[in-house]
């Protein structure tokens, strides 16, 4: 996908999702070990664990799929 040099927009999105997902997932794990005194509604569903996990996996997929190395290889293959 050509949209600005060798770094694709999808790579930046992957980095963002992976970072945010990892932070949220880690916080969720911490809360599993040390439950907070004030809990949000439906805390028992542990949304930060599974939602953070989903975002992190999605982010890692995008980051790898559109990594600069793969983009360069793909562009040199096209030319």
């Amino acid at each position: 996908m050509k949209s600005g040099g060798s770094l694709s927009i999808w790579f930046f999105i992957g980095i963002s999702l992976a970072f945010n997902g990892a932070v949220i997932f880690a916080r969720g794990i911490y809360e599993l070990m040390y439950p907070p005194a004030i809990q949000v509604v439906l805390y028992n569903l542990h949304a930060n664990v599974w939602w953070g996990g989903i975002l992190a996996i999605l982010g890692v997929f995008f980051s790898l799929r559109f990594s600069p190395a793969r983009e360069r290889a793909r562009m040199s293959g096209n030319s």
């Binding site: 050509k2 949209s3 963002s16 932070v23 949220i24 930060n48 953070g52």
Partner: protein
């Protein structure tokens, strides 16, 4: 100064260090993107049109995101709390048909004539008078909108997080100025696509968890009916139906009928916004070829249909689930003016627009809360960046290049584009402080749209579809439409009884009045354009080539499979749109 800024002593949510890490990471990432893209913004095509090399997906998501600012998210979540699911019309009939119309009917004209802007098209079609009129009104609208976005963000950050208003305005505006001035439209588009993902990542949990808590859609409907009956609201059953209550003005909470929604919203406001507001059209013009340019609005439309899930549904969930934490009774949100008054603050009242942050705080703990707040900040900054980048293009090509320095070089235009971006942000900051004294931000926003966008749609539509429309017809029609809209708005402000004439019912609420005002000024624009055109001499056909339907050979596209055809996907989106109307009838 708005009382919210002075009175908000308690905040809705409190951020933890984890939340701050997520917010700081977002700011660092957008600045990094701007710095990275600076090297690819050296020519006018690069800086103002993103090199015209965006794929359909990137252009389509940016097209949608440019409209998906936080003012929009929080405002429409608040409106769905106030008006019920009727607010979804602004995402369905108020968007989908016009996006498809842009893709399949209007885009070939914009794309084939290779214009840099909508005023640029008007110059080719109607001459410089029309271009200057529309570019000045558009430039005015964009800096005002940018300032409103900035101010709205500052208010939200103050009310929700307790942040200082000057801090919010300065940090967001400096960040936007840096990344747009460095990378131009490409940088704005990259950040809009990033914002699109952040908004879904940050907001999608609210409807998912909300529906679990409410017991699904049927449980939600039952709870809303029960709560509104308890509050003695009129027509409590109408809050979860999109069409069945539009037969009569008094049967629904908005005080509107089907004609206002179909003609005022669907045919004029939406068509005007999605097909002629350069802020969104510019994103599509950056597409790499005509097929991508046609597919981009269709991709945008497909996602637009789903936005009510993260905007309208949280408002309805607020209506069903929000309870006062102290008394356990129903929590009733109120108009912002009341919530932000001294009495409202003393009683701990919340405004309609606070429903989204309230729902966010209800379900999202540390980390998730930071992501949700980041999504709101990203939406605000993206809205501001969209306005500033469109302003920069229209100023450079349609005002500076057309009136001030006709011989400007490409390099000179890029330089001017960078400077005017910074100046545009500066003017927006001034506007942000100016609108602090306005009573209602949304009133101001809707007024701007009806002044400039509705008549512009009439002019562009006739320009593209009617070859008999003349230079004088285009100019006078646009001028008459704009002035009549301002006149009707002023009449409405000076004489409250005028609503029965302007909106056909004395029960019409603000949104209903906006719809009808737009409809009337669009009709005035059309009538004046037609009458003046018939009295003046049209351009010969050879001068209208590539500008008007029937005289524009649409480039033959390479043979593509049905799954790559814009027409096919347009039909799919139209069918899903119709199914949604039936489901929520």
């Amino acid at each position: 100064m708005n009382p919210a800024l002075a009175l908000s002593s308690s905040t809705l949510v409190h951020l933890s260090p984890v939340d701050l890490v997520i917010i700081v990471f977002y700011f660092a990432l957008v600045l990094a993107i701007g710095l990275y893209l600076k090297e690819q913004a050296n020519t006018g095509e690069d800086f103002f049109m993103a090199g015209r090399e965006m794929t359909a997906w990137v252009a389509g998501l940016a097209f949608l995101s440019a409209n998906l600012g936080s003012l929009e998210l929080m405002g429409w979540a608040g409106n769905s709390y106030k008006y019920g699911i009727l607010a979804a019309h602004w995402y369905w009939i108020g968007a989908i048909p016009s996006m498809l119309f842009l893709a399949l009917v209007m885009m070939p004209f914009y794309y084939v004539c290779k214009t840099h802007s909508v005023p640029g098209y008007l110059k080719l079609r109607f001459g410089q008078d029309c271009q200057v009129l529309s570019s000045i009104s558009f430039a005015l609208m964009t800096v005002l909108m940018s300032g409103i976005n900035m101010y709205a963000m500052a208010v939200v950050m103050k009310v929700v997080l307790g942040w200082d208003i000057n801090f919010s305005i300065l940090v967001s505006s400096i960040t936007v100025a840096i990344y747009v001035a460095l990378g131009g439209l490409r940088s704005a588009i990259f950040n809009e696509v990033l914002q699109f993902f952040l908004i879904w990542a940050g907001a999608l949990l609210i409807p998912i968890l909300g529906l679990i808590e409410a017991g699904g859609w049927s449980g939600l409907q039952a709870k809303i009916l029960q709560n509104l009956t308890e509050l003695h609201a009129a027509n409590p059953g109408s809050y979860t139906h999109v069409w069945s209550t539009l037969g009569n003005f008094s049967d629904n909470p908005m005080g509107i009928n089907w004609a206002g929604i179909v003609f005022g919203l669907g045919a004029v406001i939406a068509m005007g916004y999605w097909t002629t507001d350069f802020l969104v059209v510019q994103r599509v013009l950056s597409a790499k070829d005509l097929r991508s340019a046609e597919l981009a609005p269709i991709i945008g439309a497909a996602f637009k249909m789903m936005v009510p899930f993260i905007v309208i549904l949280p408002g309805l969930l607020g209506l069903a689930l929000l309870r006062d934490p102290h008394t356990g009774g129903l929590l009733r949100l109120v108009p912002a003016d009341l919530a932000w008054s001294k009495a409202g603050q003393a009683q701990g009242l919340h405004g309609y627009d606070e429903v989204l942050p309230l729902m966010l705080a209800r379900y999202c703990g540390p980390g998730l809360l930071g992501l949700g707040i980041t999504a709101l900040i990203a939406g605000f900054m993206s809205g501001m960046a969209g306005n500033v980048s469109a302003f920069s293009t229209v100023w450079t090509y349609d005002i500076y290049g057309a009136l001030i320095n006709k011989n400007a070089t490409d390099e000179g235009k890029v330089k001017m584009g960078r400077w005017i971006t910074v100046i545009g942000v500066g003017i927006s900051i001034g506007t942000a402080y100016l609108v602090m004294h306005a009573q209602s931000i949304m009133d101001y926003v809707q007024a701007l749209f009806s002044f400039f966008i509705a008549p512009l749609f009439g002019t562009v539509l006739l320009g593209m579809l009617w070859k008999r429309a003349t230079r004088a017809g285009g100019f006078w029609g646009l001028l008459a439409g704009t002035l009549s809209s301002i006149g009707m708005y002023t009449w409405g402000k000076l004489d409250s009884t005028s609503v029965r004439y302007l909106a056909l019912s004395d029960k019409a609420q603000d949104q209903a009045q906006n719809m009808f005002r737009a409809l009337w000024c669009w009709l005035i624009c059309i009538i004046v354009t037609v009458v003046v055109s018939l009295m003046t001499t049209p351009k010969p056909d050879n001068e209208l080539k590539d500008l008007v339907y029937g005289l524009t050979p649409i480039p033959k596209q390479q043979h593509v499979s049905i799954f790559h055809s814009p027409l096919f996907w347009g039909a799919v989106v139209a069918i899903v749109f119709l199914i949604l109307q039936v489901i929520f009838w």
